[in-house]
Amino acid sequence: MPMDCRVVLAQVEPTLGNVALNLETHVREIRAAIDEQADIVVFPELSLTGYFLKDQTSEVALALDSAELEQIADLSRRISIVVGFAERGRDGRVYNAVAWFEDGELLELHRKVHLVHYGMFDEGRDFAPGERFRAFESKHGRFGLLICEDMWHVGSSWLHFLSNVDALIVASAGPARGVTEDETGLRSTHVWNKIHDTLALLYQTWIVYVNRVGSEDGILFGGGSRCVDPHGRETAAIAGLEPGRATAHLSSDVLRRARVATPLRRDEKPWIIARELARLGSGAQPQ
């Protein structure tokens, strides 16, 4: 199915632990995206709940049948919506999740696999990890969902590449840091951009990266939401640390041309990787 869709990157500034207020922001952004006749609107990681939740994690976690997510689902009759939240699983665990709502239903749920717990981060304490990366079909194309640190592990995107996604949607809550003169602008933004550009190029996919802004007790989030095409070229971006909105146009024409010029997926040999992983056996398991 050819892809030809308009995606709104909603770079919002969630308020920590205030789901009601964040939901209002989401509804406003969703309506604005509907008004501009976009097909998809993407929010950042934990956009409904805020990021450094600590002991608030279980207090603000949302079940998939919660009234808040029902409201998002209802709005998805007019536009596909990707939102981030702390998900209260039926098993009692809480996950760092993003959900894709479409036509009034939950179409896909991704639970962050690579929880981050080093430096300023402590997600492993507050969340249970997800266990899978699955591509899925939307009416707008074939997609893979990732959350922030998932992208720092190349295997996550590689699996989506093997699953022939048209676009990777990456919801993020990446802090702003690195202000020395090595480069112009934030070091954190440069690092993310390098990752997007490289993975888009190697996995020949559209990448839509939506990062949040705002400050939680002095840690500012870096924004820098952007869209990169399968040649690794930026096609839409939101500059600066303020809330903002940008619209990206994703099309299968660009994908087709990139994949004809350099048929990386055609020539990929995943069975060799599978064989080598099997050979490594316990060596590939956690140490």
Partner: protein, 273 residues
């Protein structure tokens, strides 16, 4: 080029946004801070003036009778340059009231009393002015513990706490602060003739260089020796950082219950804000 060199405009943008957002969460649109005539408080004041508007910033000059009169002159230049509100509160009577009651000869103790007297003034005026107290401690002095706990170290928001002294100089020049403030020898001005570097026993440039490697780049002691630092200097700095950790944390609470504030009651200040 110094490896500590920052992009001053980027840092200004981030810190102005930091002040505005963090104060705004709690309904504050004004700020109060102590303006000593030194570089750190001048930079904090300039950032606050940009974040809240100069007329929403109250710069308080708080000399003691032995303070160097040049300090007040330098502070007034900063006020004139920024156009912020200012007020002078002489702390001599406040501090002397205590010194008359308790005989204090030790100049460190006397300096601490003055620093805490200034804290009393700022926190009182913050109620009248309806503004948050903005901090003026930089990363170098926070790491070295070169401050008075509950004195100059006390604030609600500190825009300078992740900037080394070298970076403060860069930012001060970028913010076009008066050269008399930027170029003079740093001093706490707690007693006559005091300078930070004489008291510390090393220069800020030396401190910044080793601190950045130790803290930001995670150099081990062996790494630092291999990089050419003297063993006693490495040991001295390491000791200062560890000994002063208590100044950077809230008071120690003895755990008794199942859930204890600061141990396993984990919430940010941004709590629904």
């Amino acid at each position: 080029m110094n490896r500590l060199d920052i992009q001053p405009q980027l840092v200004e943008d981030i810190l102005v946004r930091f002040l505005r957002v963090e104060a705004g969460k709690f309904g504050f649109t004004r700020a109060v801070l102590g303006l000593s005539g030194g570089i750190d408080s001048a930079v904090s004041c300039a950032l606050a003036a940009r974040a809240f508007g100069a007329k929403n910033v109250l710069a308080v000059m708080m000399p003691y009778k032995t303070s160097n009169p040049d300090s007040e002159g330098d502070a007034r230049q900063v006020v004139a340059k920024l156009g912020c509100e200012s007020r002078k509160v002489d702390i001599s009577k406040l501090a002397d009231g205590y010194f008359d009651t308790v005989d204090v000869a030790d100049k460190i103790r006397r300096g601490n009393v003055m620093a805490r007297a200034r804290m009393i003034v700022l926190y009182d005026l913050s109620v009248e002015w309806r503004g948050l107290v903005i901090g003026t401690s930089n990363k170098t002095e926070i790491l070295l513990g070169y401050s008075t706990q509950f004195g100059d170290a006390a604030s609600a928001l500190n825009p300078l706490g992740d900037l080394y002294k070298h970076q403060i100089y860069q930012l001060a020049r970028h913010l076009e602060l008066p050269s008399s403030v930027v170029d003079k020898a740093p001093s706490a001005d707690l007693f006559q003739g005091q300078t930070d570097e004489a008291e510390l026993g090393f220069t800020y440039a030396e401190a910044d260089r080793i601190l950045e490697l130790m803290v930001d780049q995670r150099y081990s002691v062996d790494d630092l020796l291999a990089a050419g630092f003297a063993q006693d200097f490495v040991a001295k700095i390491g000791r200062r950082i560890a000994l002063n950790q208590y100044k950077r944390l809230p008071p120690v609470i003895a755990k008794l219950s199942e859930r204890t504030v600061n141990h396993d009651f984990r919430y940010l200040r941004s709590w629904g804000h």
